[in-house]
């Protein structure tokens, strides 16, 4: 059978993107899976040998890994849930503001665009007893980044500050999809402001909410920059990415580090699948079409 011209052209045009994406994701992931089955320490490259699932056993029985999983989940769940509410508020402001709508939209983009390392530094300085202003408010009598819960607070605050705009923009796209006629009809039908929001707007926005949740959750699970800059993983704030980084590039233990990498990959993929399944119906792919 002759392959239609349109098919060949489609493949041809997508090929460069496919190659580029596969080169940095599919191939290394497979390489990581292979490496994770070896003892492979760059400090002792000659001692490389196949060890089966031993590396996974090491990781899964270590307290460091599980503490890191806990820290990652705490950061992710807290920041994403606050961001969802805050992001919705921000989206409504961007959508409805009678004055300064452009200003708001521009202002909101700033945290999104700022280098994460800079954001982390800015908040660290703000909470630092000598260079900051928060200490002066007298909420805490010790340096914030010396206590576990307050260190978490700063990390989460930084995440929220930096990524709520992204959430808000995705939600704004969803808000724009709600037909004005549906809201006007609900108003004529006597629905109150709150009823209109919860009965009409929210259900119609469900796909957008799902997409926003999906992207932000997956993104939060990867948290690295903020923690690296603010605590370097101290005080129990070490997330899984940092464990992976330290094992791979500080200890140079590629075998064990790859096992951590693969586990993180599984964790993130599992979370993504769970969100899509949990929300059901609205395919994230819808956002592509």
């Amino acid at each position: 059978m002759r392959i239609p011209r349109e098919h060949r052209l489609g493949w041809l045009l997508c090929a460069p993107a496919v190659l580029a994406m596969a080169a940095v994701t599919a191939y290394p992931v497979l390489a990581a899976v292979r490496l994770s089955l070896y003892r492979y320490d760059l400090r002792f490259p000659d001692a490389r040998r196949f060890v089966g699932l031993h590396n996974y056993l090491t990781v899964l029985t270590s307290a460091v890994w599980w503490k890191a999983v806990a820290a990652t989940l705490v950061i992710t769940l807290t920041s994403v849930s606050v961001e969802l509410v805050l992001g919705m508020a921000l989206a409504l402001v961007m959508h409805r503001a009678l004055v300064g709508r452009r200003t708001v939209r521009t202002a909101v983009l700033v945290p999104y665009a700022v280098v994460t390392v800079v954001a982390a530094l800015a908040w660290r300085f703000a909470f630092n007893p000598t260079t900051g202003f928060v200490q002066g408010l007298g909420i805490l009598d010790r340096p914030w980044l010396s206590v576990s819960w307050s260190a978490f607070t700063i990390i989460i605050l930084t995440e929220i500050w930096k990524t709520t705009p992204f959430m808000a923009l995705l939600l704004l796209a969803g808000l724009a999809l709600v037909p004005g006629d549906a809201l006007r009809a609900a108003r004529v039908d006597g629905a109150s402001r709150a009823q209109r929001f919860f009965r009409v707007t929210l259900p119609l926005m469900k796909p957008a909410i799902l997409v926003a949740l999906l992207f932000r959750t997956v993104d939060a699970l990867r948290i690295f920059d903020t923690v690296f800059v603010q605590t370097r993983g101290a005080l129990g704030t070490q997330p899984v990415s940092l464990v992976g980084y330290d094992t791979l590039l500080v200890s140079l233990n590629l075998g064990l580090g790859s096992a951590v990498s693969v586990l993180i990959f599984v964790l993130v993929t599992g979370a993504a699948v769970a969100i899509v399944r949990g929300m059901g119906g609205a395919l994230p792919e819808a956002s592509f079409r």
């Binding site: 191939y27 665009a113 980084y245 590039l249």
Partner: protein, 278 residues
């Protein structure tokens, strides 16, 4: 709604806008303030510096690492942006305009890449890059940035293309243009806002990345600003060069803020309005 209600509403919205501005601007304002304060005033807790000095900026640029990092950041982010937009345009065109087997698979794959955890690949990339000579080079960072931003680029470009009246492309092809000519002369000029948006977002990603820069570079040869900033931080445990870091942070923030301001402007949004129907 009465006039008084409207006035009240306007007041409400003004206050809301102010809150958003403070939210977005305060941390940055603080870091700008720190970068301008003389060392003695660092701990005074004032947002508006009592004395202003540019000495820290001078110091930052005197440090040989920083200008090199700035150059690396600019070069690498620009290259990644150009490539991602170029490849993204081709793929987005195919996705929007052509029906072919594997199209959905391609989109699904791109979506998966968009959610990809970088830490899952830095190990093998570190290993591979060192063996093939990409470690600590521009290309060694451009490639991961290109790959990981392609989904975003394709997404934005596909959305922009989808909004174009496709009759224009069909007309161009009837008028004698090839698909490529139609893409270049009709689609791209009209999708310019979308192309700009994609480019800006790819640039921001590349400009912001920390983990790859940290893992795949080691010297001024390719190390980018975020990695250098973090390196500043770790240099001295006891006396942190806060002012210098603040100054460097401000410098590295300026380009993205400028981009965001430009991007937000309604870039010829009305261009297509009126092309189709009234």
């Amino acid at each position: 709604m009465s006039d008084r209600g409207t006035a009240l509403e306007r007041l409400f919205w003004r206050a809301t806008v102010l809150v958003v501005l403070v939210y977005a601007g305060l941390p940055l304002a603080w870091i700008v303030s720190l970068s301008l304060k003389p060392a003695a005033d660092l701990g005074d807790g004032h947002l508006v510096p009592r004395h202003v000095t540019l000495a820290h900026y001078g110091a930052v640029f005197a440090n040989p690492h920083f200008p090199a990092a700035l150059r690396n950041s600019l070069g690498i982010a620009t290259l990644a942006t150009l490539l991602a937009v170029a490849l993204g345009v081709l793929a987005a065109y195919a996705v929007v305009r052509l029906r072919f087997p594997g199209r959905r698979l391609f989109l699904g794959g791109a979506l998966a890449v968009a959610m990809f955890p970088p830490v899952a690949v830095i190990g093998p990339l570190f290993d591979l890059w060192r063996r093939v000579g990409l470690y600590d080079t521009w290309a060694g960072l451009v490639l991961p940035y290109l790959s990981l931003t392609l989904p975003l680029a394709i997404w934005i470009l596909a959305a922009a293309f989808r909004d174009l009246p496709w009759d224009l492309e069909r007309a161009a092809r009837v008028d004698g243009a090839t698909r490529l000519q139609a893409l270049r002369k009709i689609i791209l000029p009209l999708a310019a806002p979308g192309v700009a948006a994609a480019a800006v977002l790819v640039f921001i990603f590349a400009w912001n990345d920390f983990m790859f820069a940290l893992s795949l570079t080691s010297t001024d040869h390719a190390r980018t600003v975020p990695a250098v900033l973090a390196f500043f931080t770790g240099a001295s445990r006891f006396q942190q060069p806060t002012s210098a870091i603040a100054a460097a942070s401000v410098v590295v923030t300026i380009p993205v803020v400028v981009l965001v301001l430009l991007f937000q402007r309604p870039i010829v949004a009305g261009l297509t309005a009126g092309a189709v129907k009234g």
